[in-house]
């Protein structure tokens, strides 16, 4: 059920979406889930360990792999990780994390900062 697309992946030789490296990370996840089951703390620790060595760039590949494989639990897990990473951070930090540049007109961004000034207060330091 969770791996309905995995068979398809192995059959599809020209697949560029998922590399072997990713497959070794994503695919063991459900087994680990079953082993740990409802023990949240252990799962958290496992998640921390897994992601300590993963850079944001790798994270993208993991997310896209989980998305392609239709693996909802892994996708939710990776999205949760990204959310935790950018939570309460400044706009510049988030831009750097995602490799994005501001494409606002000069006046537009200023207007936004003024309108939502309250949300930019008290963010964590970069």
């Amino acid at each position: 059920m969770k791996f309905c697309t995995v068979k398809q992946y192995f059959d599809d030789e020209n697949n560029n979406n998922v590399t072997n490296g990713i497959a070794t990370t994503v695919i063991p996840l459900p087994n680990k889930h079953l082993k740990i089951k409802a023990n949240n703390k252990e799962m958290e620790q496992y998640e921390q360990e897994l992601l300590r060595n993963v850079m944001p760039q790798e994270l993208t590949k993991l997310i896209l792999a989980a998305n392609y494989l239709n693996f909802k639990e892994a996708l939710d897990f990776f999205c949760r990780t990204v959310a935790n990473a950018i939570q309460n951070k400044s706009v510049d930090y988030v831009r750097k994390f995602f490799g994005l540049e501001s494409d606002f007109e000069p006046g537009e961004e200023e207007k936004l900062c003024k309108e939502f000034a309250w949300s930019f207060e008290g963010v964590d330091e970069d």
Binding site: P56, Q57, E58, L59, T60, K61, I63, L64, N67, L75, D76, C79, R80, V82, A83, I86, Q87, N88, K89, S90, V91, V94, R95, F97, F98, G99, L100, E101, S102, D103, F104, E109, L112, C113, F116, W118, S119, F120, V123
Partner: protein, 435 residues
Amino acid sequence: MSDNLSMLDSLPHEILTNVFVRLPIKSIVTCTAVCKTWKSLIQNPTFISSHLHHSSNNNNKHPLLLFRLCSSEEKEHYVLHFDNQDFNEYTRFDDFPFHGQSYDGIFHVVGTCNGLVFLTDNLYRYHNNFVLWNPCVRKFVKLPKPNITCFSHGGYNASVGFGFDSKTNDYKVVRFVTLGEKGQMGKSPPEVEVYSLSTGKWRMVTALPPIGAARGHDPEAFVNGALHWVALRKTGTKFLNFVMVFDLGDEVFREIALPKLSDQNGDEYWVRVSISAYGNSLALFQPGFPNHRLSIWVMKDYADASSWTKIKTLPDAFLVEGIPRSHCIPKCFRKSGEVIVELYGGYLSSRDLKTKDFKDLRIRGYANTFVDSYVESLVLLDKPNQLRKRQKRKRNNNRKQICGPMLYKIHRFRFFLRCKTQNRSWSKHSKHSTF
């Protein structure tokens, strides 16, 4: 390396949505300033609905209660508490944007829905100014003047309610107005008008309501997509209370009968009850007279009038800080089914209806305390803060002059200032002409 970096910015929108809905609201708002794509993704009704859905699911596990407490200086405080054993504070909304802008100092909170708080001011029972406010994103919409006001239609009693129409993904405010000029109370249907957030306008409802009178200021319950309020009908020589129901989606009326509430030959003119949401059904609060005992009825099966069950009559006193407190004013039900009551002196406590346990919530309001369940949301994030628009409406040709010069000059703030010299809030009010 640069190829890898550029991949994060090309994540599909569904995945970005999956990330954003997990962020606290403050961070989501910060993300609108990252780039244009993110801004248009977030400030979008579809995303706002997705976020609300996620927030509601979280809320089922960790329900919240919104408290509006007034201090003796007529300042309003809005606080969110966890609706659990510990009842700890979750957050405060310190940025109430309308301090001192209500005629009598503080606003009347009508209700909450999907993170929106609906406020009206209160001028001798007439609500003239209505505001929809989302404290989570600090956005508000001031409604245009309704079609029926005391200047256009003369004296009236009105009940006002607020809810969400899931058919059109729209928020609606509904007023049920019983005009004084219609004659005998309880023998005619009310005038009903609806405000829709998506159109920004009031319009009269076309469906014919059942005969029933609004008694004014009574709260309404929004349950199962419909607004419920207690109306009074005169049949022969006797008055009877019943629940009038207005479905927000279909905009049609229904009725639900109430249990027998009076021993006085079936005449319920003097019976005043208030209705409340109770899970997916309704509850009724009947204050006792003259015993100050509160009766609570619950409709076990929604819309089945035969399932009204009297579950409790609360006795008087409960010790708070060693002093017996009484005069229970019910506020709302907690997720657990306990009822929050306000005791004499503004002390809020939680009462278990099965056991008889009272729990002191250690929260105290000065007066006009409002409590209701609350869900955080981004509703109104896609709209600018909106001052009231002037809405053209058909004038009633039989325009009545309200008896007495005082009401006629209501809109002239300086005159009113002279009438209310004692009220400190007016000194602030005279400097503003916001309303």
